[in-house]
């Protein structure tokens, strides 16, 4: 078991180094930004008549920077704060902690993307299995063509297309808000119904644009497993089709679980387009509105959060693989 922990330990250290690298990146990004926003903010505060010391304290809590300290001290201060999950304060939301805003945005992204991911994964791998098993027939060719086609459509085009068809041409679904503002939020049936109705199109956009990749990957994986000796051997030993299918499925799914875990990590940042097009207040939407409002602490915080999710997912994917594949040494 020690080898296993060593491996995981190594992964966690690598992840921490990566988070350090990304936070350094955002630090220097803000610091070397044209017109240095930190210094500008400090100057405005002083001009507004706030005493210099108090102005410095304000800037410090906002950006996590101490303007008059040497660069390396500012840097360590910033990284130290990041490691304590203190991402500074938002500018456009007048001093609300960035972490607070991000935690509020996260459920929107997570629920929408997780549902979309689950739908596209399930439909995609089913289509992939069929496309592979029936690869010498019209059905298989058709599924391959469909997957390739959908895989080729970028997410924002899919989202725009769906929005246009189902909200403008056919007014089936509402557009442009996470829920109907006329219904007061709460744990009530109309409110949840409204949430669901508004979530259909974003989820569909995410699911349809993800479907192609799952189907193509699964098709390739199943095709490769079908050519493996043990599947033919099982058939010639008279093993029942259902048991054989289990052999095929488990072996073909193995590489896909890793990709799935990574997708969960990448999902936080993968939906800027969908969230923007459908006005869905998740993390991607937050990045985009923060950018428009020049709210750099909020934007950098969201970016750090998105990257951290990917790093954590990489570690989990590695762990999962060790658990699922007996061929990886665990002793």
């Amino acid at each position: 078991m020690s080898k296993f922990f060593k491996r995981i330990g190594k992964r966690i250290v690598a992840g921490l180094v990566m988070i350090l690298a990304v936070s350094s990146f955002t630090f220097f990004l803000v610091h070397f930004m044209p017109g240095n926003p930190v210094q500008t903010k400090l100057n405005t505060l002083i001009e507004e008549g706030i005493p210099p010391l108090q102005a410095q304290a304000q800037v410090r809590s906002m950006y996590g920077f101490i303007p008059h300290q040497p660069l390396y001290i500012q840097y360590f201060h910033y990284v130290w704060q990041v490691l304590h999950l203190n991402l500074g304060k938002s500018i456009s939301y007048s001093g609300v902690p960035v972490m607070h805003l991000l935690l509020k945005a996260m459920p929107w992204t997570v629920i929408m993307v997780l549902t979309g991911l689950a739908v596209s994964f399930i439909i995609g791998i089913t289509a992939g299995v069929i496309a592979s098993v029936k690869r010498n027939s019209k059905l298989g060719d058709g599924l391959l063509l469909l997957s390739t086609f959908l895989h080729g459509i970028p997410q924002f085009i899919m989202a725009l297309g769906l929005a246009y068809v189902f909200t403008t041409i056919f007014k089936i679904f509402p557009f442009g808000a996470p829920y109907n503002a006329a219904i007061s939020p709460g744990f009530t049936i109309p409110f949840i119904g409204s949430l669901a109705r508004h979530a259909v199109l974003p989820i569909a956009a995410y699911a349809i644009s993800g479907f192609g990749a799952w189907a193509l990957t699964m098709r390739a994986s199943v095709t490769s497993v079908l050519g493996d000796d043990y599947i033919l051997a099982a058939e010639l030993r008279g093993v029942t089709p259902s048991i054989r299918l289990r052999y095929i499925a488990r072996n073909a799914m193995l590489p896909l679980f890793t990709i799935l875990t990574l997708s969960v990590g990448f999902m936080f940042g993968g939906s800027i387009f969908i969230e923007t097009i459908f006005d869905y207040p998740g993390l991607g939407y937050t990045i985009n509105t923060a950018l428009a409002a020049r709210d750099y602490p909020l934007m950098d915080g969201a970016f750090l959060m998105i990257t951290a999710a990917v790093i954590i997912a990489t570690i989990v994917a590695d762990l999962l693989y060790t658990v699922l594949d007996p061929r990886i040494q665990r002793i």
Partner: protein
């Protein structure tokens, strides 16, 4: 070629010559009509980008009296919210899209191939450093990174756009080229080249690189489609300030300014750039099949 003039009656004694690259390429293209279609689409858009803008004045005329016109002979794709001809916008906008996507692919492939070759062949500390940086770019989600970068770098012009996409997009190729180089450097022909006393640069670029070239060429075409999505996406979100007209800008204006989502009259205005992006990338994907076959001899039919 001199042999081409030989009388045909001698054909049966003509020694067998290996087919030229172009004859193989032509054969691969002809094997499937979809590949010819792909090539046709590519040529069409390249011609549009190179010569199209010459047909229009530098500043396209606006006509407040004729906004959101339906398609007609005068305006085959209708007009936009200022009364400008949509077809003219598409044609003049194509140059930016193709030019910057081509540059982006060029930078991606150059950086990726060189860093991959260097880290795979020289090993040691260059490899360690390059691969750590590659890890960074592979981990950090690409599009949010571009959004954040846009705050310090106004990369709206085509060259900067190409450069920024290249600088952030090389990591996957570098990893692939590195692992190919790692296996190639142990092969006998590379060892022979070392034995002959060729310089390391000659070995890397003369012996190792040609063997990774097929993969790099494939990646070039894929990088073009990827870059088109990214740049159009950046303009669509309004992350990068508009300097020139292009398809992404059109989408942005159709979506956020023209209110295309709330009325069907702007349909041609919204649909035209969408159709162009889709058909161009499909052209590339179809064409890719032929390139794959030419570069991977195993796929060629007997």
């Amino acid at each position: 070629m001199a042999t081409a003039n030989l009388p045909t009656s001698h054909e049966h004694i003509k020694p067998w010559t290996p087919p030229t690259f172009w004859s193989i390429a032509w054969k691969a293209l002809r094997r499937k009509p979809s590949r010819m279609l792909g090539l046709g689409i590519l040529v069409f858009y390249v011609l549009m980008a190179v010569f199209g803008p010459m047909l229009y004045p530098a500043n396209l005329p606006t006509n407040p009296a004729n906004i959101y016109a339906s398609p007609s002979w005068a305006h085959p794709l209708g007009t936009d919210f200022e009364g400008t001809d949509v077809l003219a916008l598409i044609v003049t906008g194509s140059r930016y899209v193709l030019y910057s996507a081509g540059l982006a692919a060029f930078f991606t492939v150059s950086i990726g191939a060189i860093l991959g070759l260097v880290s795979g062949y020289f090993r040691g500390w260059p490899e360690a450093i390059i691969m750590r940086i590659a890890d960074f770019f592979l981990t950090v989600p690409g599009f949010p990174l571009l959004v954040v970068l846009s705050t310090v770098w106004n990369f709206g012009n085509p060259v900067s756009m190409g450069l920024v996409l290249g600088l952030t997009g090389w990591a996957a190729l570098a990893r692939a080229v590195r692992s190919q180089t790692l296996s190639l450097r142990e092969r006998s022909f590379v060892e022979a080249a070392r034995g002959l006393g060729l310089s390391r640069r000659q070995i890397v670029f003369g012996e190792v690189f040609p063997n990774t070239a097929p993969y790099v060429a494939m990646h070039f075409l894929l990088a073009i489609t990827g870059s088109i999505y990214l740049e159009v996406g950046l303009f669509f979100l309004g992350v990068v300030p508009f300097s020139t007209n292009n398809w992404g800008v059109m989408l942005n204006l159709a979506f956020s300014q023209a209110g295309a989502m709330y009325s069907t009259r702007a349909l041609p205005y919204l649909l035209s750039p969408l159709f162009c992006i889709m058909s161009l990338t499909f052209g590339i994907v179809l064409f890719l099949g032929a390139v794959d076959e030419v570069l991977n001899p195993r796929l060629r039919s007997v």
